[in-house]
C-alpha cells in the first residue's frame, strides 16, 4: 500500500496525502464515536424523550368512590347521565373542522350554536371562558343532560355526527338521603388546576387534566381514597397532533368508598331542627337590641360520647352541593360567595368560632376545684360584682344568695365565677403577676382541648382561642404600634381611651379579663365541635376523643382498606368526683335549672339528659349568640345560633326534638321502635359477596343492637328509584357501558355484579333509561 508508484510522484505529496487520510478518518471516527454515544450510551434517555414527544393521552376517568353514611346509605355517589361529547381529533379531520357537525348537535340538543362552539374550543391566553382547558385528546362534554331520544338520534345517525358520542357516564350526585343535605361535611369537587397537575406528577397517583378533586369537606379530606385511578389510553401522534396509532391502554380503577359516622336520618333531623330553630328565633323580639333576632347562622352537632364519632353535623345557612356537579354556574358561585350570602360554604361546626358563654362554666368549675375550691362549698351569687370601678352583672341581674358550684351551674350564676376568678387573679399577683403563676383557669381550659383544633378529619378546622397571659403578650406585641399611634393622637373618643390603655397596659392580664374569661366571654373563642367534644367527655366519664367523620374506607371490591378506630386525645383534667358532680349539676340544668322550662316532661328516669345553656355576648351591635350543650351517656348534642338570644330559648325546643328522634321519646315515654339510634352504631355496613355495600335502610330499627347485619336488602329496596345509580363499589363505566354504550342500569341497581350487565337492544335499553329518569 505504501509503495510509491513509479510515476515520479514525490514523497512530499504522498506524505501530505497520508496526512489528509489520517485527518479524514479521524473525522469519520469522531462521527462514529458520537453516534455510539448518542444511540447506545444515552439511547434510553432519548428513546424516552422521543416517546414523550409523540404520545398523547386520552383519559377514561375512574369512577369516584361513594360517601356513605354509617348504615351504608349513599350521601354522595354517582349517577348515570347521558353525556354528549365531542372529539376534537375527529372533528378536526373534517373539511370544515366540524363546524357543520356542531351546528347539527346544537340543533338536536336545543342549545345555542355559539355556546356549543365555545364549549369545545380550546382554552389559551386569548380565549375567554367558556372554553375547554382539558386535554384536546379528551372527549369534551357538551351536555350531561341529554334525553334518551337525543342520544339515540346521535347514535343512529352516526354518519351525520362524526366525532360526537352520547354515552351514559357516571356523574357525581349528592342524593341527600332522608333529606340530609350534609353539604359542608361532604364538601364538593372542582376541576384540577395546572399547578396541581404539575405538583402531583411524581406521586403514585398523578392527577390528570380532566380530573376533579375534592375542594372541601370529606371530598377533600379523603380525596386520595375516593379518586381511584383513571384509565389512560395513549395515542401516538405526529407533530401536528394527528393520531398515528394506539400505543397502550390501562383500564380505570374505581375509587374506594368512604363509610362515615354520619347517620343520615339523624343528620336530616338535626338540619331540619336547626333551620326551624333559626326561623323561630327570627319571630322573637330581642328586648336588648329592640328588633327581632337575626338568627343568621348556626350549627348543630351530634357526637357519640364513647368514640368521638360525629353522628350529625349541620351548618346553616347551607346549600345544595349538586350545584357543583358538572361545573358550577357563575350565578350559583356568586350566590355562594356573595358577601351578604351568609357564606353557606363555611362549615360553622368546625370553622365558626365564638365565645362559648356560660357553657364554659363546667370548665371554670373544674378549674376552681383543681385550684382548691370545694364544689359543694358556699359561694355568694349576688346580682352584680364590682371590680376596679366596673360592674359585672348577672343575667338579668338575678341573685341566688349563697350557693354551691353545682347550683351555680344549674342557674348559670355569673357572680359566683366572677368571685372565684377575681380571687385567683389576686392570688397570682394581680397586675404584677408572680413568676410562674398556676393559672388554673387557663391551664384547665387548655386541658379540655380548647385553643387547639380537635383534629377532626375535616379540612380547615379552626383552633379557637384561650386568651391566656402568653396570648395577651403576643397580641399586645402585634398591636402595640397601632394602639400607641391612636393613643398619641388628639382623639378623645372611646376608641382612643381604650387604645391609650392598651398601648401601655395591653400586655397585662387585668381583673376584668379574668372575670370575662370565667364565664366564657371576652376574648375566648371555641368552635361548636370543641365544645361538643368537651361535653362528650363529661358524658363518657372523662375521656376526650378526637372527633371523626370517616369510619372506614372500603375498596370497590368490598375489602376494607382502612378502618378508623376511635382515638383518644387525653383525659379531662378532673377527678372522677368532679366529673360526677358536673354530671349531676348539668342534669340539674335540665330538671331544675336554666333549661328546665324547655325540658318539662322529659323521661329523665329512662334517659338521663344533661345540659348547659349559654348566651354569649358578641361584639358590636350583634345580638347574643345562643348555645345549648346537652348530653346523655351515649351522645352529645350541641346547637349554637348566632344572634338568636338565649341558649335555652333559641335552641331548647329544637335540641329536645333531636333527642326525641334519637331515642324515640314520645311525650314522656320512650318508644324504642321509633328511635333512630337508641344505641350507637357499632358495626360497619354489610358488604355482600360482590363487594357491594348493602345499605341498612330499614326504619325504624327493631333493635338498636348488634344484629343489624342480617337485615340486608328489604323488598322495597329494589324499587327505590333513588338507589343503585352507581354507588356500588363495583360500578365501573367499562362494565356498564358496553361497546355500543349500553347503560345496563336496572341490573346494577339490584346489586348484581357490575360486570354482569347484558346489553339488550337499543329499544329495551331506552325503556329502562326512561324508567330510571322517571
Amino acid at each position: 500500500m505504501t509503495n510509491i508508484p513509479e510515476t515520479g510522484r514525490t514523497s512530499r505529496i504522498t506524505i501530505r496525502l497520508v496526512v489528509i487520510q489520517i485527518l479524514v478518518f479521524s473525522l469519520l471516527l469522531t462521527l462514529g464515536g458520537r453516534l455510539w454515544y448518542l444511540q447506545i450510551r444515552q439511547g434510553d434517555e432519548f428513546a424516552a424523550e422521543a416517546a414523550g414527544n409523540h404520545v398523547q393521552q386520552a383519559v377514561r376517568p375512574a369512577v369516584r368512590g361513594a360517601i356513605l353514611d354509617a348504615r351504608g346509605v349513599p350521601m354522595a355517589d354517582n349517577e348515570t347521565r347521558l353525556v354528549v361529547t365531542a372529539d376534537r381529533t375527529e372533528l378536526s379531520r373534517l373539511p370544515d373542522d366540524g363546524e357543520a357537525v356542531l351546528v347539527r348537535v346544537a340543533e338536536l340538543l336545543g342549545l345555542e350554536v355559539e355556546a356549543v362552539a365555545n364549549q369545545v374550543r380550546l382554552c389559551d391566553a386569548e380565549t375567554p371562558q367558556p372554553c375547554w382547558n382539558g386535554s384536546p385528546y379528551q372527549p369534551i362534554p357538551i351536555t350531561d343532560e341529554a334525553t334518551t331520544q337525543q342520544a339515540l338520534q346521535i347514535r343512529e345517525r352516526a354518519e351525520e355526527f362524526p366525532g360526537i358520542s352520547a354515552e351514559p357516564t357516571a356523574v357525581r350526585r349528592y342524593s341527600a338521603p332522608d333529606g340530609a343535605n350534609t353539604a359542608q361535611v361532604l364538601g364538593y369537587l372542582s376541576p384540577v388546576t395546572d399547578e396541581e397537575v404539575a405538583d402531583s406528577e411524581d406521586t403514585d397517583n398523578p392527577l390528570l387534566r380532566s380530573d376533579q378533586i375534592g375542594r372541601s369537606g370529606l371530598e377533600r379530606q379523603y380525596d386520595s381514597y375516593l379518586r381511584g385511578q383513571a384509565g389512560v389510553t395513549r395515542y401516538e401522534v405526529d407533530k401536528f397532533g394527528r393520531v398515528l396509532g394506539e400505543s397502550e391502554s390501562e383500564t380505570a380503577q374505581a375509587g374506594a368508598n368512604l363509610v362515615t359516622t354520619i347517620d343520615s336520618r339523624v343528620q336530616a333531623v338535626v338540619e331540619r331542627e336547626l333551620v326551624q330553630a333559626m326561623e323561630m328565633a327570627r319571630t322573637q323580639h330581642d328586648d336588648i337590641s329592640g328588633r327581632n333576632y337575626e338568627a343568621d347562622s348556626g350549627s348543630a352537632i351530634v357526637l357519640e360520647n364513647g368514640t368521638g364519632r360525629v353522628v350529625a353535623m349541620a351548618s346553616a345557612p347551607d346549600y345544595d352541593p349538586n350545584v357543583w356537579v358538572g361545573g358550577i354556574s357563575n350565578d350559583d358561585y356568586t350566590r355562594l360567595t356573595a358577601e351578604d350570602g351568609g357564606n353557606p360554604l363555611l362549615n360553622r361546626a368546625i370553622q365558626g368560632q365564638g365565645p362559648p358563654g356560660s357553657t364554659f362554666k363546667v370548665i371554670t368549675s373544674t378549674a376552681a376545684v383543681n385550684a382548691g375550691y370545694d364544689f359543694e362549698g358556699s359561694y355568694e351569687c349576688g346580682s352584680s360584682y364590682d371590680v376596679g370601678g366596673q360592674t359585672f352583672r348577672n343575667f338579668e341581674s338575678q341573685a341566688y344568695g349563697s350557693i354551691s358550684l353545682g347550683r351555680a351551674i344549674e342557674v348559670s350564676c355569673n357572680t359566683v365565677f366572677y368571685g372565684i376568678a377575681h380571687r385567683e387573679w389576686q392570688r397570682e399577683g394581680g397586675l404584677e403577676p408572680v413568676d410562674d403563676p398556676d393559672d388554673w383557669l387557663f391551664r384547665t381550659a387548655h386541658d379540655f382541648g380548647l385553643g387547639t383544633p380537635t383534629g377532626v378529619d375535616l379540612p380547615n378546622e379552626a383552633a379557637g382561642r384561650i386568651p391566656d397571659r402568653q396570648w395577651k403578650q403576643e397580641y399586645w406585641e402585634a398591636n402595640e404600634e397601632n394602639w400607641c399611634e391612636i393613643a398619641d393622637s388628639d382623639r378623645q373618643d372611646y376608641v382612643a381611651r381604650i387604645a391609650r390603655e392598651n398601648c401601655t397596659e395591653g400586655m397585662k392580664m387585668r381583673a376584668g379579663d379574668m372575670l370575662n374569661f370565667s364565664i366564657g366571654q371576652g376574648d375566648v373563642l371555641v368552635t361548636p365541635l370543641q365544645l361538643a367534644s368537651v361535653y362528650a367527655a363529661l358524658g363518657n366519664g372523662g375521656t376526650l376523643y378526637q372527633p371523626q367523620v370517616g369510619r372506614a374506607v372500603i375498596a370497590a371490591d368490598g375489602t376494607v382498606v382502612e378502618e378508623f378506630e376511635p382515638r383518644s386525645s387525653g383525659e379531662l383534667p378532673a377527678s372522677d368526683q368532679t366529673i360526677e358532680d358536673l354530671r349531676t349539676a348539668t342534669a340539674g340544668v335540665i330538671t331544675r335549672g336554666s333549661a328546665d322550662w324547655k325540658f318539662g316532661g322529659w323521661p329523665q328516669n329512662d334517659i338521663v339528659l344533661h345540659g348547659k345553656t349559654g348566651t354569649a355576648e358578641a361584639s358590636g351591635d350583634q345580638q347574643t349568640t345562643s348555645w345549648l350543650a346537652t348530653y346523655t351517656d351515649d351522645y352529645t348534642v350541641v346547637m349554637t345560633i348566632a344572634q338568636a338570644g338565649t341558649g335555652s330559648g333559641a335552641s331548647g325546643d329544637a335540641v329536645r326534638r333531636i333527642w326525641e328522634a334519637i331515642y324515640g321519646v314520645q311525650g314522656s315515654s320512650v318508644n324504642e321502635d321509633v328511635a333512630l339510634l337508641a344505641e350507637p352504631n357499632r358495626d360497619l355496613p354489610e358488604i355482600d359477596e360482590n363487594g357491594t355495600i348493602v345499605p341498612d335502610r330499614d326504619e325504624p330499627r327493631e333493635d338498636g343492637g348488634e344484629g343489624d347485619a342480617d337485615q340486608g336488602t328489604t323488598p322495597e329496596e329494589g324499587q327505590d328509584p333513588d338507589q343503585g345509580n352507581g354507588y356500588e363499589p363495583g360500578f365501573d363505566p367499562d362494565a356498564i357501558i358496553t361497546p355500543d354504550g349500553v347503560g345496563n342500569v336496572s341490573e346494577t341497581a339490584t346489586g348484581d355484579p357490575a360486570g354482569g350487565g347484558v346489553p339488550g337492544d337499543t329499544g329495551e335499553r331506552t325503556g329502562r333509561r326512561e324508567d330510571q329518569d322517571d
Binding site: 512530499r12 505529496i13 496525502l17 489528509i20 469519520l28 462521527l31 444511540q39 428513546a47 422521543a50 407533530k239
Partner: protein
Amino acid sequence: MSVHTLTVRQPARRGSAWRRLAHRDSVARRLDWLLLFAGLALSVLGIALIWSATRNRTGITGGDPNYFLIRQSINLAVGLTLAVGIIWLGHQRLRAAVFVFYALSLGVVLLVFTPLGTEINGQRAWLSIGGYTIQPGEFVKVAAILVMATVLADAVDAGDREFPGRRAVLQALGFVAVPLAVVLMDDMGTAMVISITVLGMLLASGASLKWTIGLVLAATVGAVLVWVLGVLDEYQINRFAAFANPALDPSGVGYNTNQARIAIGGGGMFGSGLGEGTQTTGQFVPEQHTDFIFTVAGEELGFVGAGGIILLIGVVLWRALRIARESTDLYSTVIAAGVVAWFAFQCFENIGMALGIMPVAGVPLPFLSYGGTSMFAVWIAIGLLQSIRMKRPLSA
C-alpha cells in the same frame, strides 16, 4: 493490489460483449467498482430514507407518498448519466475547457442575485428555474476543484517545477476567491466547504506549507472579525447559539438540533425499522429529507444502519484517497484530493450537526440528501475520480 498500477492501454479487440467487458483493459476492468458500489449504495439508501421522511408530508408531496422517491430516483439517474459523461469525456479533456466551465458556474452563482434567485431558510442560495430549484453553490465546488487543479498543476505537470510556486498558488486562490466571496455572502455552509476543499488541494499539491498555514490563520482572523463586526445574519448567529447551548429555547432556535438528537438517540442499536420511526413519521425534525436526512437513518436504522452509512462514506473516501495517491500527474492528484476534502468535510459537517457536535449549516449530505444539484455535483465528482482511476491519456 498491484493490478491497479497496470496502465498499458491496448486497443479493444472485436469479440463477444462478454469478452470486451472482461478484457483487462476494458472499462469494466478499470473502473473502481468498490467506489461505484459504495456511492450507489449510499444513493439508494438515501432514496429509501427520503421516502420514509416525506411519505406523510402531504403538505409538500401534494398527496403522493412516492413524490420524493421518484424525483430523487430521477436525480440519481441524471447524476449517473453525468458521471458516465465525465468518464467518457475524461478529466484530462476537461482541463482544456476548465475556464469555460468556471465562467459558466460563476455566472450561475451570480444569477442568484437576479430575480431568479430564491430565498429558503434565510439563505439566498437557490435558483428557481421552471419550477426547479438548483443550488449553484454545488457546481461552484466542482468548478473550483477543476480550476484550482489546472492552475496549480500546470507548471508541475509540464515538468517546469517540482511543486506549484507562489504565482500558481496566488492565481489559483484568485480564481476561487471570486465565487467564494459571492457564496460567502449568503451561504456560509457552502463557503466553508469550498474553503476546506481549497485547503485540501493546496496541501495535496505540494505547495509550500506556509500557504496552508497562512490561509488557516487568515480564515480564523476573518471569522473573528465577522463575529465582532456583526456581519452575520440573525439566523446564522442563532444557529451558533443553539449549537453552543442546545438547551436554549428548545421550541425555537434549539428545536432543530434538539429534535434531531432525540431522533438519533431514540434509534438505539437497530433502529425502529424503515418507515417506523416515530420522530420521523411524526415530522418532528425539520428539513429531514434534505439537510437532516441522517436523523432518519439514525432513528429508523439505528446504530447499525447509521454507522453503516459512515462506513460507506469511509469506503468512498478511502477509494478517492487511493486514487489521489496512485494518479500519475499532479492535476489528477489535486482533483482527487479536492473531492476527498469536499466530501469529507461536508459529511462531517452534515452528520456532525445532526449529532450535535457541529453548528447547523445548510449543507446537504453527499449521496443521501434530497436535492438534484447536490446529487449531480457528487456524481460528477465520482465521474472525475473514475476517470482519473482509468487514467485515460490526454489523447484519448
